[in-house]
Structures are given as C-alpha cells and as structure tokens.
Subunit: 354 residues, 4 copies
C-alpha cells in the first residue's frame, strides 16, 4: 500500500469544492485533511454538500494558509478569480504542490487579464510557473509540474474538440465559431434573480453572445498548436439542465476533407487518451456527443460531421462541466503530477438514464 | 357582426392540428366545422387534445375531401409532407382557400425536393400557386392569396432574424451559420425511442448537425431578398423543454457596422410588425431573446450583438415553435387572406413564468 | 359597449401582479390605470415582466394609496401577508372595491392568525367584511360583495376537490390527508438559495410536511360545509416544474360508496361550473387530473378513484397555481362582483403540449 | 486477491440491466461473463447503453440458459415479470446462485399473483426458495441464501420507511397511506405515447391512484414485522425527472409520540446500516429526504415529522430507483450472499448538484 497523499482544499463550499470532495473522499491514494470556507467555517461539510452526508465528519476550517500548507502535500484552490491570485504568492513560496481551479493563472500573457477579466494581474511573474492543466495537450509537462492551472469548463471542452483540426492545419483560423450550451451548475452555487428556478427553468438563454472570458484560453491554446494567432468567436447559452456542456463548433476547412480523414485526424491524437471518446454513429439515439451520456464521468465525448455544401466541419464535444470541466480534470492532473495511475478515482461510468 | 368563416382542418390529431384548434375555437370570426383524422375518426377531439376538454364537442371526422371542401371556406392541411401533396390537386381544383402546414409547397424549385425531402415532387405545376406564408416578407401577396404554404418553424425563426441584414447587404452570404435549439414538441406527437422521456430529458442533442431540411427554405427566402444565392449552414439541437426555439445566428459583416446601425436596420424593417419584438437590453434577466418569454404567443423576438474582434454579428431569434413557428403564423396568414385584423385570435401575452 | 372599469394593482411586480396584468391588459371591460411597486417605481412594467413587452407602456407607480383609490373602481392588492393588512383600513374606508390576493383576510377567526401566520391580527373587525373568494362556494355573496379575499392556491385546489364529499357527508372528518405537489412559481419571485436552479431543479422536496398555512383555510371552508369542525392533514412538496399544482387527497369513506355515486356527487355540485372539469377516463394518457393540461387556463380539473380494500377515496385536483390558484380566480371574482360575464378574459384553452 | 466471481445477466438491454452493468463492470470482485438480450443479440452493449462506451467490448448474447449457467457463478435475471418465472425452474435446478430483479418471486403467497399481477403463478413451489432481498430486514437469511428476489423500487423505499414504526407498534395498521412520486426511468426503457417527452415532461400524473402492484409486497413485509395483517393504501405519481423516488407516508399513531422517541425508534433499527441515512435537519435546503441528493448512490434517506393536530406521523423516504430501488440493492444482496464487504462497488457518493 502506498502512503496516502494529504490534500487540502481552499474554498471548499462551492460546487467545484463539493465535486472535488465527492471524488477525493473516495480516492484510494488520498486523505483530505483540510477544507476551508470563510463563510461556513465550523460547519459540517455535509451541511453545504448534502450528498456527502455520511461520507465525512470533517468541518470547514477557517481560511489559514499556514495551516493548509502544513497539512497538505497538494492543495486545490477553488476560490473565485481575483481571490486565488491574492493567496498564491505565499502558496508558491511554500513549495507545496498546487492545482488552481480559478482563472487567475490560465492565461500566459498578463496583458490579457485587463481585457477579459477587468483587472491588472498583480503577479505576472507567477504566470509561467503554472502548467495549463489539459492532460491531453500537456501531459509531459504535468508529470513534472509543481503547479497547475485547471482550464475553464467551456474552454477545455472546446480546445479538445478543436486541437486535432488546428494541429493538422485543416481549418481557417479566423472563423472559428463555438456555440456553447451549459447547465446551471456552471454558474456556481451563488443564487441570484437570474438563477431563480422559475426564471431559469426552461430557458435557452444567450447569456454571453460575445466576449465570454473563456475565449482567451481557447485562443491561447489553439494558437500554441497552430504556431500562430487564431480568432475564436464564442457564444454561450444557458439551457435547462444542471450538469453538462455541449459545444457545437462551426469551422471552415481550408481544403476539401473527407470523413475518413477526420477519423484519422482525431484517432491520431486521441486513440490512447483515457478520457476522450470519439462518437459518430450511424444509428441509435446517441449518434453524436450529448452531455446526457457523460454525466458523472470524466469523459469528453467528441464527434464531427461534414457539411460539404458550405465547406463546413461541425465538431461537437460534450462534458460534465463539474467533472472533466472542473474537479475531475483537476484530479486527473493531480494523478499525473503525483505519479498515480491517471484514472485513479475517475474510472467510473456515466449515469444513464439520468 | 361579420359572418363567421367556416374552417376545416385536415389532419387534426397532431400537435399542429391541436394548436390550430386551440386558437381557432376561440377565434371570433371563425367556426371550426370539420376536423379529420384517419386514425381517430369518430373519437371526441378532446381525447387526443386533453387541454381542449370542455371547449368543443366535435369528433374527428373520417378523411373525406369532398365533405371538408363543402363545409369549409378555408382549409388548413396539417398532414405530413408527402401526404399533403397527394390531396392538394383536388383541393386546389375546388377553389377553396388553403393554408398548407406541411413542407410540400414551401420550395419554389421542384429540383430541391429530391435533394432535401427525398422525393420527386409529383405536382411541380402547383408550386407557384402557393405564397410562402411569412407575413413580414409577403404580406401584400398574402392579401390576395388563395393558397399559402406555411414556413417551417426553424426556417421562419431564422429568416426573420436574417432578413434585415441580407436585405441591406451587410453580411457575407457564404458563411451564414445557424445554430438552432428546439423543444420536443417540434418533433411532433409520434412517440419513439428517441423521444422517450428518460432518453430525451436533459439532453443537448445535436440531432441534425448538417443537412436539415429547413436549410432549403432559408436559402430560398434569403436568396430572394439578396437577389443572388446564399449559403446557409444550419445545425439543429434538441434541448430539454417542450415549446420553444432559439436560433443563434453567426454571420460575418462585409464592412464595419455599429450597434446603432443594426438598430436602424432592424427597426427599419420591423417597427410596425405586430408580432416582432426587438430585444436588446442592457440589464435584466432577459436582455436577449429567449423562448422562455414568448411561450403561448405569436411573437418572434429578435436581438443582436456585435463581436468586433471576429467581425461577427450574432443574431438571436426566439419563437414558440407551435405558435409563430406553426399554428399561430398560419392563423396570422388566414387573417390577412380573409381581410380580418391581422392580430385577431393572436393578441395574447406570453405566459410567464412557465 | 359598457364603460370600462378602472383597475388598480397594489404590488404589481411579483408573480401574482404579473399574472393579473397578463389577464387584465386584454380584459375587454377593464382599463388598468395604476400599478404600484415600492421597489421598481418609475420602471417600465415590461422590465420586470418580460413577457409583457409590447403590451403596455405603463410604468410602476410609487405606492400612494390615495392615488390608487382615485384612479380605480376596483383594486387588487398583491402584496405579502402582513403588508396587505396595513393598508386595508384606508382602502376599506374609501369604499373602493377590493380583491385582496394576500392571506390577511382569508380566515374569519382572528385567533387563527397567531397560530398559522405568527402575528396578532391588527384589524379583526375587518375580517367579516371580506367574502372568501371561491366562486363555486360563495357565488351569491360575491355578486353583492365589495371586498373579496382570494384563496391560497393549494387551499382552493383542495377545497374544490373535497367540497362535494364533505357537503354530502361521505367521509371521515378527522382523517383528511392532502398530499400536495407544486411548481416553483408558487414560491414567488424572490430568489433564494433554495430556489437556485441547480438546487431546485429535479427535486421532490417535502418543504412543509406538517403545519402549512393553507391548512387553516381548508379547515374553515370545509367546516362551514360540514357544519362542524374538520381536521386536515396537509403535506406540501416542491416538484420540478414552474406552474401547476396537483393535490392528491386521501380520505376514508364513512360508508360503502360506488363510482356512480361519486360521479353523481361531483356532477351535482359542479355540472354548471364554468371552470371545473371532471376528469376520470378509462383510457388515454390523461385519465386523471394533471396540471400539465390546465397550464395557462382557469380550470380546476377534479377526478377520483375508489380503493375498496382500504375504504379509501382518492381525489385528485389540478390547477395552474398562477391562474385558478391566484390571478385568474381573482379576475373571476371581479367579473362576478362587477356583473360581467364570469368567463370574460378567462375563456382560453390551456396550452398543450407545454 | 480473491478470485473473481463470474456474473451473468439475463435480460441486459433494459434500464435495470444497464444499471447492473454500470456497477458490476467496475466491481472489483466480479467479472461479467454473459449478458443476454433476445432483441439485441450480437450488438455491442454500448449501443444500447451509450454511457458504457469504452467500458466493455461485450456483445449481447442470445438467450441460452445453459450457456449462462455454465459461464456464471451468480445470475441476475432482469426480465419482465411473467418471463422470469418461465426460466426459473431450470435456473433453480442448476444450483447456480440467482438474484431475480422481477416481481415473480417477491410474494410468498401464490394467491396474491392473480390479484395483483393477473396471472396464476405456475411455480408456487419455488416461492419459498427465494429470500426477499431487503438486506435491512433479512440480512441473516441473505448470508446463506442461494436465491434472492429483489424488491420493487417503491416497495423497498416504503418498507424501509415504515419498518421501525410497524415493528415498534407505533401506528394504526389499517390506515397506512403512501403517496409516491417517481421519475420516468421507473417505467423502463420501452417508449410509449405516455412517455413521449412532450407528454411526459412537466407532469404530475397520478398514474395509479389505487391498486399499484407494489402494495402487495409492502403489506407482506410489514405484516411479517407486525405479526398480523396490515392495510396499505398506495397512490403513485409520475413527476418530471428521470431518476428518483420520494415516498411520503401518512400514518396515524396509536398513542402520543414525540420526536425524540421517533429518533430512537429509527436509530434503533438503522444506526449501523451502511445505506440508510436519517435526515431531519432544522436548517438548510435539504432538511428532509429528497431524491435530489441520493442520485447515483445506493442510499435510502429517511426522515419524519409529527403532526400533533391530526395525530399523524409523516415519514419521507428517498431513493434512486435505479440503484437502491433496483440494481444497487441487487448488488448489495450479491455482496452479502457471496461474503464480500457489503459496500463493495456501491461505496460512492451521490452526485450533487445534478
């Protein structure tokens, strides 16, 4: 038996914190030692995360960086952007391993922060100390990484769908349209008028038709793959479910392509990936990716279709935004960083029907 | 008081038939005289349309064209495509007014039918006897029309959103991406494995990423407005609601445009339209169109946003697919054809919240 | 043509206010003259009620009792319980007609208020100046009423289901179990953690297993019918929809009864009621009441079944909580009070499917 | 490492079969060797259970009892009632261990089958060869059992809620009202008009107000606990979700009881149960059981409330009908029968939010 790794979670009362706990409390290599919450310090964790009743007697701890550092071999920071950046200098200095779930260290170019996040990054010197936590793109770096910045949910779902096409130079780089649909858990645990059930149920609400922040990550990662800048046009919609993302990506091919060529392109990049499934069936109900059949799992399902009339390739990708879009992907990164089997704690089938 | 108009419905047991009945049974200028159903002939209508219990004692009649012709001043045909075309020669010959809810007379060019509907049109000589029933585009023609072909739900929702941009030559005509999301009523009343609640609930299912039939109508009508062919790339998704369509339309401007110019373009075309609302607010929950706030009404809500980075205009349009997307629009056409006030029977506010 | 009646609404920004507006803005005998909101005074009404965009240019007015009195022939008060009671003395004094949508004047016995609403009623002298607004029970009184107190949504749905059985002395009066299920609009427009979509979606949440306030109204009205006290055991559940109530009522018969006898009992009381439909079919999907097929309408659907093994009668009743459960029933009361046709403004079929 | 147990599933294409596979394909003590389906023999399993893509390359086998017997140490029969009974004589004769998921061996008294299931039981001699698979009631028997009959989903959810009260003789045995609400997966994988999404979405449909078959099991098991016959009045409702059951149980106490006494009663019976959680909180959103927070897990959450006015105890119990209500409970029984740790393969937290 291996010695367990001690894990701390800073900011454990939100949905990402809860999902990390759901996975980590049954991860065989891990002991959760410290879970902080400013707001709920002293309360039993299962009061906020009712699903975890019976799984842990832990209480939320006051936020105390030194205590978390002392108790942890690796720390997940699950606090909002703008907050993570404030505590990071001390965490980095301590040498503890870090997986940041916020957006504060996703972008390599500090100039992007004022544009997309409306703040001047206070610690640009730390940006290149973080690996962008997409195992499918940066696995080798993650193996030796001390710090990882976990991608945004819609960003990762989009990047994984587009990477093979961009890497193989099959598409126009100025006309990448991502039409994204997401469930309500993606907005976090904070209630508002817009998330009131009577107002949020049954919508197809275009909440950010232009200018969504995840655009910047997608452009960064695809730009790295392309070796030159790409332009991403992302529009996001809230739909009537809790978990799940579908990205429908409309791109235009630079030369005639065929379905077999697309299969080869995607298989070439992903055939050995543990958490990517290629989905393009000729019959059945689930012929293309649909978040319905990834719920509760760490999969990103990817499929594609050709529209020869319009020279268009349609790529579809589906994730559970709480798992591959957040906590599950974070644990996958942790497994790589710690040298565990990459699937540990994540090797579960999606629920169906649900 | 005007004499009431006698209305017949051929194929009254499906969802379009039911919605026509819901509206027409309380239309002050109309008497519903004959509603046919091969399958349910002899049954009370409210057995199929449980909402109509207490609204009518009519029973479904056997299909009998002569009887329907004799009893009607105007006939709605609400049968599947491929079926309408079979009964139409006799209906046309009879001289009765007709509003066809099927796809059989939407396309003017008979060559399009084998491409999109997989059948050779048996009566191409009838195609130009039908006006395409988009009041916002063809009102003058409708005033004197004897026969109208009612648009497809996603087609009309898309056409209305794009018409001002195309008419004013503001966008590229080869890169019109329509990402459409629709509720389950759009698929009709017939149950299947794919519509089984446990399989259909909670999906974001890309059911027709390319090649959807409504593409042809959109290209036809936009082509007429543009004066030259346009290329439409339509992808359709099933989402977790019953009524409602949102079309998110991604187009690229041919020259720099501004928000005020877009306002002017849309107002120029639609400011006097009774069933179009322009929606682009700076605050509130419903800043852009959302089917949530058109349910039960004949409105098409349209909004837009500019993505200057990508030279993109995002247009969003929302309808209740059963009303403006089908029966309501059909009744609007009837009102115009019969010289009634165009809003008669349709002047109701959407339900909210619902 | 009759002269229109001027209607004021005090507290027009909530869901009941919005639903009153939806109905009254198209009521042919009515002009809405004054709609107040402390919170949104000066804002266009359609900013709060997005469905009403295009239906009215009215803005919310400051709350000013004298102005509302001066501008109105009849006033709806749609403010929370505890607030209505504060403004009522002046309204009563003014002589204006009143329909109170709150709970403040539903109970005749002031001693019930501390028990169920945790306050001492400050104006017990006004309680008997209000008719309990159940047209099916108190139509004659309503015809000459100046003031009406509109029932609670679950109370009215329960009372209508039970009245024939109680009136005909068919059931035990100490064992009346009402198991009620309701959509999220019943909780009002105010957002909270409990109504956050990610937490409220998909629940079957027993939010008030005992002690629900509507119990008191049901006991009062059934007690009047029985001529002696009855004991009601109400449990309420939040389910995953926005509009709709189903009350499943489990009662025990005092002597053997038959289905034909139950039909006779219910028909005897309700056969001429414009907004009650009796539903007990042997086939079809909607054999018993289901809120699904009353949405948007003023109907209360009622059905029943016999469980001879347990001596039990199961009564089921379904309403749209915003219509027959609130605004629609209020308008029905208004129609009676003003001498209009009782169905005016309410004679619409439910939406289906929705 | 223990040798793995070989498991066969007869009838693997339905929802129960799929859920068994989801759990068993990752059960560390088990190898799934043979999964039959008459309808889909030869197809890959993941074509029917799209969630299992990537989890197994197994194909459905033709139904062949001898082959299944040869390949299995234990067999789950997941075929409809009436079908299981036909294959059981051979399975029993073979001596293989059996867990029957159908209703064919749940009732001990063969006379109950014509009453509740409309058939004469063809093998009454086999009925007492099956243990009723409720681990919380029959664990000792299960330890040495060769054959288990797994309870109905609503039956088990009800029995677990009522057992402590009945066992301790706290309630009237003639007035046990169970008001049950269930998601659409409970109806199985077969599509019908009643399960068509547009008709099934948004309902609160009382589909079996009296006479539900699970009544018989509940009466049997409670009768055993009481030592005399009990009378159960069960009404079942379909609500708008896929997974989940809530039973709201209204019973009348035979003498005054208190909340502490109820706590003691429930803790006395369940404090060491691995899959029962008692839920009765004074604050928070989930103060009482709600299927929302058991989804994906094997828990039965149970809570209670006292209605002193009506002498009523309200007990609420929530399960995931696919897990504790079916496959998960079956695996729990298997674990006991095989001498495994009872939690193996089932020790996962519910998903939240979902």
């Amino acid at each position: 038996m291996t010695a367990t790794v001690r894990v701390g979670i800073i900011g454990g009362s939100g949905y990402v914190g809860g999902e990390l706990l759901r996975i980590l409390l049954r991860h065989p290599e891990v002991e959760v030692t410290n879970v902080t919450s400013r707001k709920y310090a002293g309360q039993y964790i299962y009061r906020q995360h009712a699903n975890l009743r019976g799984f842990t007697d832990l209480q939320f701890a006051e936020q105390n960086l030194e205590e978390t550092i002392n108790k942890s071999d690796i720390i997940f920071t699950a606090v909002p952007h703008g907050t993570a950046v404030k505590i990071m200098p001390r965490l980095v200095e301590s040498g503890v391993k870090i997986i940041d779930m916020s957006a504060d260290f996703r972008l390599k170019n500090p100039k992007e922060y004022p544009i997309w996040y409306e703040y001047e990054h206070p610690h640009p010197e730390l940006l290149d100390k973080f690996v962008y936590g997409a195992p499918e793109l940066h696995r080798e770096q993650l193996k030796s990484a001390t710090r990882t910045s976990c991608p945004g949910c819609m960003a990762l779902t989009s990047i994984l769908a587009l990477a093979p096409l961009v890497k193989n130079n099959l598409i126009e780089k100025e006309r990448i349209v991502i039409d994204s649909k997401i469930g309500s858990s993606g907005g976090g645990a904070e209630a508002s008028q817009a998330t009131h059930h009577a107002e949020r149920y049954g919508v197809i609400r275009p909440y950010k038709p232009v200018g969504h922040r995840h655009t910047a990550e997608v452009e960064q990662e695809l730009g790295l793959l392309a070796g030159l800048p790409v332009k991403v046009a992302l529009s996001t919609h809230a739909v009537n479910l809790v978990r799940g993302i579908l990205c429908t990506i409309h791109v235009f091919s630079t030369r005639p392509v065929t379905i077999p060529e697309l299969w080869k392109t995607y298989r070439g990049m992903y055939s050995r990936e543990p958490f990517i499934r290629l989905v393009r069936d000729k019959q059945g109900i689930y012929r293309f990716p649909d978040p319905k059949v990834v719920i509760g799992s760490n999969f990103c399902d990817i499929g594609f279709e050709l529209d020869e009339r319009a020279n268009r390739i349609v790529v579809m990708s589906a994730t559970d935004n709480m798992v591959k879009g957040a906590a599950g992907n974070g644990v996958q990164c942790m497994n790589i960083m710690m040298g565990f089997n990459e699937k540990t704690g994540l090797d579960v089938a999606p629920l169906h029907p649900v």
